[in-house]
């Protein structure tokens, strides 16, 4: 059973991981805690469900969901991120949360508050090794998540655009001095992080065969926790954090009980923030110059 629980934890962690990476892109580069990400995660799942329900082939439905999430994210950039530059650092939080509430309520009006069943893509999508059950969809999503992250970290370190993004992450001012065009970079980052969140939402729908207007909240908050535990702004930190949070959640449930999950997961987050705010992988925040 222990091995089954480890498998379960890794699978859960792979979902958290993608959401954490989406958060980390927004916060590490743009210094924006984007609370619309849980909403975009939900849009990924719900729009894919809507597409399949309309009779679209699943590939078309998925593509449509990704495109919709990207479009919404552009609106978030335009209405929540851009006008707030130079204002209170907390202000974008309000509007990005506004987007979360808006998206949830729009889906609620369209599909109701019920959890909906997402149709299985195959009859039995599971590998069975002895007693051990591994979902193929879950395995595929773990592989896809890791592939995406590997590609992303290669992109950031080896390409010109990637280096530009890293410069911005180090210091927005330096980046502007070096001629990085923020007004074209920010929308791209928003689209990128929306695609990651929506992909996670689609994988969630396929894995757990369910969607609901509120599916983003729980996963989103765990994603934020994963990002911080790993180290804000670090992609591999988000990966590590996601898998760790997934494992801790599953182990808490199987060893103690579901009623302590919030205590262990968020207790760990609190502890990390107090003892090592930079996370497991990540640099300490530096003191400003005069």
């Amino acid at each position: 059973m222990v091995s089954q629980q480890i498998v379960n934890g890794l699978m859960l962690g792979s979902i958290y991981m993608l959401v954490a990476v989406a958060f980390t892109l927004a916060i590490g580069v743009l210094n924006f805690l984007n609370f619309s990400i849980p909403g975009l995660f939900m849009v990924g799942g719900m729009a894919a469900y809507g597409g399949v329900k309309l009779g679209l082939h699943w590939s078309l439905a998925f593509a449509g969901a990704l495109a919709l999430a990207a479009l919404i994210s552009l609106a978030v950039e335009r209405l929540a991120y851009r006008p707030m530059q130079g204002g209170d650092p907390e202000a974008p939080l309000v509007s990005s949360l506004g987007f979360l509430v808006l998206l949830e309520n729009l889906m609620l009006i369209r599909y109701g508050s019920d959890q909906q069943a997402f149709p299985p893509l195959l009859a039995d999508m599971n590998l069975r090794i002895g007693d051990l059950v591994i979902g193929m969809a879950q395995l595929a999503s773990l592989a896809l998540s890791i592939a995406l992250v590997v590609w992303l970290s290669w992109f950031l370190s080896a390409t010109n655009s990637g280096r530009r993004i890293r410069t911005v992450a180090e210091s927005g001012e330096t980046a502007v001095l070096l001629g990085v065009n923020m007004s074209s970079l920010a929308p791209r980052l928003f689209v990128g992080s929306a695609m990651l969140a929506a992909t996670a939402g689609i994988l969630f729908a396929v894995n757990y065969q369910q969607v609901s207007p509120f599916m983003g909240e729980g996963v989103g908050f765990k994603g934020v926790a994963a990002m911080i535990v790993g180290g804000m702004g670090s992609i591999w930190g988000a990966v590590l954090g996601g898998l760790l949070i997934g494992m801790i959640e599953v182990l808490s449930i199987s060893v103690i009980g579901a009623n302590v999950v919030n205590i262990t997961v968020y207790g760990l987050l609190l502890l990390i923030l107090i003892l090592r705010p930079q996370g497991l992988i990540g640099r300490p925040p530096s003191r400003e110059k005069l």
Binding site: M1, Q4, Q5, N8, G9, M11, L12, L108, G112, S113, D114, Q115, Q116, A117, P119, P120, N126, R128, D131, V133, G135, F204, Y208, Q209, Q210, S212, F214, M215, E217, G218, V250, I253, S254, G257, A258, N259, V261, N262
Partner: protein
């Protein structure tokens, strides 16, 4: 600065309360949950309320007076529910209140109703002991302990395997937890089922793989489930995925006409107790047909009535009966006395034949038949009909 809220709220009140001014009508308040977390469960209830009121009024009303319903959306929020009740009690001069929906709302509105002296009857809250200590608080729901008792008794009566069991429940939901932590172990003991262990999950859990991995270890004949319908769907799917064949049993919390469809092939043998089944007799069939017609016309996706729709339909009839027995006139001057009369008449109702079966009240809770249903071939089928003893 301080005038702004009072001013603007006053405008609102003026706009809303004019509709409640009818003179010789018998007014009931109805707390809806048309937005918020219970929408899908609760949004068709209004159809059942309107249907029952229409039927009664078409037959001449109560003692020649028509029933009128004033409605207020609480969004399933306990705070807004108390606002609704205050409005019904003070502004709308209601004789009784239909609702509220959820247990959390009941916990905040029953004390208000007790102070204001106006009866309420909930159609959905089934947490144990909610009416205790309240003389104006009623529920047309059945205590989950009684329901699960009858479900297990039905299994035993039909000779189905039930020698060992596991309890599974959501820990952060009042009703679910009391079922899983208290009711199921007690009922297992009563019916000599060995309790092999228990697993729990969070109300909003989507991933039940760790819990099912544990259930697999216990290999029980039945799993006693305390959970909302979502938990039942997720558990059924995960049981199927991990190849665990066991019978899941539960109470009214997972009673949902759509459940077999939502489980998409999983969940065969899921057995629950509920208080409404469409195919019991001509009356239930007629109600189901009329409800479906109206739900379709209103554009709802679900057209089958659920247990709450049926419950609320009966609540309107229960109030009508109580107002008749209490010789209520609807005159403003006698309001307080007539509200108390309605309350006292409700308490005296015995074996009134209604849609859900024969209904009586004990300590504010309805006593009515329990229909034990089983999922077979993707559909609910009636396994047994039992009367709580």
């Amino acid at each position: 600065m301080n005038k702004l809220p009072i001013f603007s709220a006053a405008i609102l009140v003026g706009a809303l309360s004019t509709q409640a001014a009818g003179a010789q009508e018998l007014i009931l308040g109805y707390m809806m949950a048309k937005s918020g977390p219970y929408v899908s469960l609760a949004n068709t209830i209004e159809i059942a309320v309107d249907l029952a009121v229409e039927e009664i009024n078409n037959k001449g009303g109560v003692g020649g007076r028509k029933i009128k319903v004033v409605k207020f959306d609480t969004a399933g929020d306990p705070k807004q529910a108390t606002t609704a009740l205050r409005r019904f009690a003070t502004d709308d001069a209601v004789l009784g209140v239909i609702g509220p929906f959820s247990s959390s709302e009941v916990r905040t509105t029953f004390p208000v109703g007790e102070r204001e002296g106006v009866a309420q009857m909930s159609m959905a809250s089934s947490a144990p002991g909610l009416t205790k200590g309240f003389t104006y608080g009623y529920r047309n729901t059945t205590d989950e302990g009684l329901v699960i008792d009858q479900v297990i008794a039905a299994l035993k009566a039909k000779g189905l395997p039930a020698a060992s069991g596991v309890a599974a429940y959501a820990t952060d939901d009042v009703v679910s937890k009391s079922i899983g932590a208290t009711v199921v172990p007690a009922m297992f003991k009563k019916h000599a089922i060995s309790l092999k262990g228990s697993v729990d999950f969070q109300y909003a859990a989507f991933d039940l793989s760790p819990q099912v991995a544990q259930i697999k270890q216990f290999a029980p004949d039945i799993v006693g489930l305390g959970s909302p319908p979502e938990g039942a769907v997720n558990l059924a799917k995960e049981l199927k995925r991990q190849n665990v064949s066991t019978r899941v049993i539960g109470g009214t919390t997972i009673s949902d006409p759509e459940l077999p469809k939502r489980m998409a092939g999983a969940g065969d043998n899921l057995t629950i107790g509920t208080t409404f089944f469409p195919d019991v007799n001509d009356r239930t069939k007629a109600f189901t047909a009329e409800f479906a017609k109206r739900a379709k016309a209103a554009g709802f996706e679900r057209t089958d009535p659920n247990q709450f729709d049926a419950s609320v339909y009966d609540i309107v009839y229960l109030y009508a009966e109580a107002m008749k027995n209490g010789s209520v006139t609807g005159e403003k001057a006698k309001l307080a006395a007539e509200r108390t009369a309605v309350r006292d008449a409700l308490a005296k109702i015995k074996n009134l034949p209604l849609l859900e079966g024969s209904i009586s009240f004990t300590d504010g809770d309805a006593v009515k038949p329990v229909y034990v249903l089983e999922v077979k071939g993707g559909k609910w089928t009636l396994l047994d009909t039992r009367m709580p003893n």
